[in-house]
Amino acid sequence: MKKSRLISLVIAVLLIPALIAGCGAPAQPAQPAAPAQPAQPAQPAEPAKPGEAPAEPAKPAEPAAPAAPAGEGMDPAVDADTVVIATADETPSLSTAGHNAVAGDYVNTLTHNGLFRINAELNPEPDLVAEYHTEKDDKGEDSIWIMKLHENIGFSDGTIMNADDVVATLMYAKTQQNVATYTKSVITVEKVDDLTVKITTDGPSATLLYDLSHHGNYILPKALIEADNDWNANPVGAGAYKLVEWKRGEQIEFTANEFYFNKERTPKIKNVIWRIIPEGSARTIALEAGEVDYIIELDSTSVPNLDANPAFTVMKVPTASHNWLTVNNEVVPFDDVNVRKAINSAINKEDVIEVSINGMGEVALSQTPNGMLGSTDEFADPYDVAKAKEYLAAWGGDPATIKLDMICSNDTKRRAAEVIQANLKEIGITANIVSMDLATYLSETAAGNFTGFIGGYTTNNMMSFLNGVFLSDNINASNKTRTNEPELDAMIRESFRTVDQDERGKILEAATIFLNKETPQMPLYQPWTLSAHKTNLLNTFITGSGGFWVQEWAWQ
């Protein structure tokens, strides 16, 4: 009896610390003497309300006001000359043209610059280019682009950039499979003088400036391209930072590039440490423990906790990432628009957002992303179960015969699929959830071996979105609905050739309305980009495409 009591005591002693550690609220970092309001991050757009008139498209992300009241925050993780950034994924490569990964784009943007860059409003603006204009070709079309570089642009190895480097880079990018698509419209690149290049496109190109903003076209020194440089070891570029060391799987260290050309945007924090922390909760703990200063990908479950702590600022920014349930438009009965509209109307997207991403996003009604030129909710179906039943009646078949297998490649998608499964049951459709790893999911969905899947697409302009998701040329690749509509194809191609933004906007809007009527897939949501940092880290902001500029950050 005595022995068992003692054993119980031992068990209790062992379990108490575990319970305290696991269930208690985390310790608050040192509180400032006079707390002030943290800076407000960019505000997400109001979600569209189901059943109401279509909502206005979300406004592009506004840069957040500088975070920063006096006395807020914690000490920097290392020192005032250094910022430590935690990220989930390691870049596959430091080369600009050797990958097409978001994780790689972040680091490329530190070490390299493009002729243009995407601003907070998702529009391209000149970066290395000082001025540019278009000229008419023989056919009288605006397909000749004359671009003049800034003077004295220094690469991080101390050499000066000239037109030869631009010519060599763009021709090199055309040969690299990972990024070749971003120079597709470029026919020739010629040197006019030391600072001027002439780019000829295959007709007027509305995408050229976006493409030139892509990391695949960041400018590299010609001499290193010709010398077959190892870009992972020696990623020389004209960015604000240069590589110090890449410890594989652990961290990448950068320091300010003393030859950086734009004196107005010279880095305010000299050193950047880019730490790879794959596990979401581990990233949050590292921030709370003061080991890192900024988290790029914040777990949505960590938001309430960090939001409540004035030492940290959470940024929630609407993104252009469009997520959906896709059905195979070539397979019976999903080839019938009434069936597709019935499924679309039956899904409670508010619930999907709540369950799959903890409410951190906004409802997507339109077939194209909110916030982009040409997006509209006109003719998009809101959540309406009665309407869904009407669509099924118009189809005329028995809903019990519809078999929908929803492929999901991660937990977020699985949670969304569970809500959809329950919603579809209400209109008599049986949906199954099928789990696949990412590689299998990508192959099977591209090949059309599916009835349905939860997926998404992220890009920073409407033309690329329509081209990737709906152009018939991309069936068996990124057009996974397998939409094959000549009328839509014509509109997408026309938009590529329309340089005038107002005109292009009208074409893109017409394409969106066409798609909203056809409903090739069932839009679900556009998630917010969630990031967090110590409140005394200033000038942080995130663009609608998820980009950010470390060189503008500063410690209070």
């Binding site: 022995k3 003692l6 054993i7 031992v10 062992l14 610390p17 575990a18 305290i20 550690a21 696991g22 985390p26 310790a27 596959p92 490569s93 050797g98 990958h99 097409n100 990964a101 499979q177 990972n178 070749a180 698509t181 992972n232 410890k247 594989r248 799987g249 652990e250 961290q251 730490r275 790879i276 922390i277 794959p278 596990e279 909760s281 581990a282 990233r283 703990i285 590292a286 423990a289 003061g290 080991e291 696949m436 790893d437 990412l438 590689a439 299998t440 999911y441 990508l442 192959s443 099977e444 591209a446 697409y457 890009t459 690329s464 990737g468 040329d473 991309n474 068996n476 690749a477 990124s478």
Partner: protein
């Protein structure tokens, strides 16, 4: 002895061929295209086909395997599909972390497990025995990732004593070492206890005590040495558990080790990287088993006599 070692090393060759062949075929036949994973959702059909050709993925699987194995014989593990860097270099940069993690976990496990097992055996049915075995039960029952997160919450976030992530210094390996070693400690402690219990009931132990030897000497010099052979076997087997456990531990503690690299490579269908990791794991496991076999001879003169 040397002949024996030579034979064991030669036996590694068919093991490596068999394991890599099996993994190569499984990876190649599994659904999922490495090219589509590399190029992502935005890939065009032309880019996919072009990269597939460049990577030699249009060749028959056996041709691809023979090409890879030919390079392996020259000490070249090929290029990673994802990073285009040498797999040997990628693995070499990650091995030290995994070795440090495994070594610290094994050290923690052995340092605690053997005394715990001995005390539990010597004080059989006492409170100490009950508490030791309860600890061992916890060790085999608690998932590594959960224990890891608890340790981080307690020692990093609350007490601020140890780093929560990364491999910046020796301190970075204490928490992962405990998380990973706790499981092994439990297994080793349990086998040490049962082995000791068996030995201390043997006639020669009773004889030693009857001779009037101090109890401590009987345990240390007569019982422990004989009880160690099963323990050494389990320690060797635990190396395999540590390697597989390192995958989870490296993820929770953000350690840039080979376990995490292998998981990322499997997800990305990066076959050369996966095979490189498999070769390293196979070699490590085989070498550890060889060392364990040789240790038997060191511990027990009768086995040493069989080698010679």
């Amino acid at each position: 002895m040397w002949k024996y070692i030579g034979r064991r090393i030669l036996a590694l060759i068919p093991v490596i061929v068999g394991v890599t062949l099996l993994v190569y075929f499984i990876m190649s036949l599994a659904p999922g295209d490495p090219v589509k994973t590399i190029l992502g959702e935005q890939a065009t059909p032309e880019a996919i086909e072009s990269l597939r050709e460049e990577m030699g993925l249009n060749d028959p699987i056996i041709v691809q395997y023979v090409r890879w194995f030919g390079k392996l014989l020259q000490g070249d593990l090929g290029l990673s599909y994802k990073s285009k860097d040498s797999v040997s270099m990628e693995i070499a940069s990650r091995i030290p972390t995994t070795l440090k993690l495994s070594f610290s976990a094994m050290t923690i496990a052995i340092l605690f497990a053997i005394p715990l097992g001995i005390i539990a055996a010597v004080k059989q049915n006492s409170i100490i025995d009950g508490a030791s075995m309860f600890l061992a039960l916890l060790g085999v029952s608690i998932p590594i990732f959960w224990l890891g997160l608890l340790l981080i919450l307690l020692f990093s976030l609350r007490l601020g004593l140890l780093p929560s992530a990364g491999a910046q210094s020796w301190k970075s390996f204490i928490l992962p070492g405990i998380a990973l070693g706790f499981h092994s400690m439990a297994s080793i402690a349990r086998i040490t206890r049962s082995s000791m219990l068996e030995v201390i009931r043997q006639d020669y132990t009773r004889t030693a005590r009857a001779k009037g030897l101090p109890y401590r000497d009987v345990i240390q010099k007569h019982a422990l040495r004989n009880a160690l052979i099963p323990t050494v076997t389990v320690v060797g087997l635990q190396m395999g558990a540590l390697l597989s456990g390192s995958v989870l531990t490296e993820t929770v503690f953000s350690l840039p080790g080979i376990g995490r690299y292998m998981i990322q490579s499997i997800s990305g269908r990066d076959i050369p990287a996966v095979l490189g990791c498999i070769v390293v794991f196979t070699l490590t496991f085989s070498v550890v088993n060889l060392i364990v076999d040789l240790l038997y001879g060191f511990i027990d003169p009768r086995i040493r006599a069989q080698y010679s």
